[in-house]
Point group: C2
Chain length 242, copies 2
DNA sequence: GACTTTTAATTGTCTGACAAATGAAAAACA
DNA sequence: TGTTTTTCATTTGTCAGACAATTAAAAGTC
């Protein structure tokens, strides 16, 4: 079906593709054991090293895990949210950092996505997430926070906001968008004044959740998006000047 | 910094992690050439096979590409949208299929995310995307479409809807959500009647874009979400009965 | 100057070996 | 008999060395 993979590539890539298809299309199920490396090398008529390179490719995508010893081997891995998160973050971060994405485009996407969980977040927010957001808000008021720490706290704040929707699939999909912004924002120097302004928006966001005020949340996110873009634009303008 | 990776793992995994960090943190830049396998094996004091396994791991994540011949080698790869898309789709699909996700949760997330591009899509939709949507809508009216073909067309339709927002980052983030739904929806048998109903919603969606009617688009997406969940619930109920 | 051949560098693949881990079975022991 | 220890076969992890295939630069040729 999706056999766009083919001839021109390495043997190890071809073999990895074949096994990957077996997993994705369900012919190999979770926790099932693959044949041993020796058996695979016979099946595919290649050397053990080639098989191993193929298996390492799959391991890098968390599709399999391996275990040594008798009755060990390679097993189809149940992809955890944790694994999926970190893969998503790595890919999103690299995509943004390598493709000179316009920061406005990234901001626009991020806040559009975040806005998508406003109704659910307002309806379902639990004390657990709210307390994380309050904690991060408090941390943000500390004046001796470095720009990196500030951005990290910002990410934690927004991740918790997303988690308010109590939908793990939604959280997963948004993780990449929220986390990948951090390196971009890290380039901005946040003055005391700009921090104060963002903090007030964050406070409003918490209030909107507490009072389940959907319009307020949407408006606040919009303002945050706009302000982020302004700050970024200013940084770019300053850099231009030099 | 993020050195949660450590001791208990394979040498090849450790080496892959080190190189990955170098790329993610920018010490190795796009198109830069890595040392040759022989040099790397000296640097890390391991055999060439171990280095190769590490490099294959990175290649599986599209972080590097390799080229044979003199002046060949491993180069830091510029992650393309295409590569990022397919990684995202694979991960999302597996996450959903392996974690017995409640279909309601997946539907909820998908339509929440899709709703996030309604304002942008209405404002910016181009004739290009609209014609794709019309083409898929027309295809959906064909009665001899298999359930799989129907679902594939559905995915193409919604991807094009997302693309209307003209924001590649947004499209990237939503690809996983839209595509990963297909295997879940494939389990549903779409009767002529249910197809007709969905087609009418799709038609309304096209109209809402043409007339830039944001409320109509949001309402239509909501109805689609609800109807999808109904169909899924019915499938589950029928299966229970047996 | 244009074309061909050689050459050196580099990845891709293969073979064979040994180390390390590990669970099962066998042996030893109480 | 029941429990602990030892042995053992299997499998992955790592290594060393070899050769094939590819490739671009360098050298040679006309």
């Amino acid at each position: 079906m999706k056999n766009t993979r083919n001839d021109a590539t390495d043997l190890s890539a071809q073999i990895a593709s074949k096994i990957r298809d077996s997993i994705v299309e369900g012919r190999l199920i979770v926790n099932e054991r693959l044949p041993s490396e020796a058996e695979l090398s016979e099946q595919f008529s290649v050397s053990r090293s080639t098989v191993r390179e193929a298996l390492k490719r799959l391991a890098a995508q968390s599709l399999i895990r391996t275990q040594r010893g008798a009755f060990g081997g390679a097993f189809v891995n149940k992809l955890s949210y944790q694994d999926a998160y970190s893969q998503n973050i790595t890919t999103s971060t690299l995509l943004l950092s390598m493709n000179d994405i316009n920061i406005d485009v990234a901001c626009e996407a991020r806040f559009a996505l975040e806005r998508s969980c406003v109704p659910l977040a307002c309806a379902r927010r639990s004390e657990e997430q709210l307390s994380v957001m309050r904690r991060e808000l408090h941390r943000q008021t500390s004046p001796d926070l470095s720009d990196e720490e500030w951005c990290a706290s910002d990410v934690a704040f927004h991740r918790s906001f997303v988690d308010c929707a109590q939908n793990p699939v939604l959280s997963y999909q948004l993780t990449g968008a929220v986390e990948a912004m951090q390196p971009l924002m890290n380039m901005i120097t946040f003055t005391a004044r700009s921090r104060a302004k963002i903090i007030s928006h964050h406070a409003a966001l918490i209030t909107s959740l507490e009072t389940q005020d959907i319009p307020l949340a949407e408006r606040t996110l919009g303002e945050l998006a706009e302000y982020s873009m302004q700050l970024a634009a200013k940084v770019l303008a300053d850099r231009e000047k030099k």
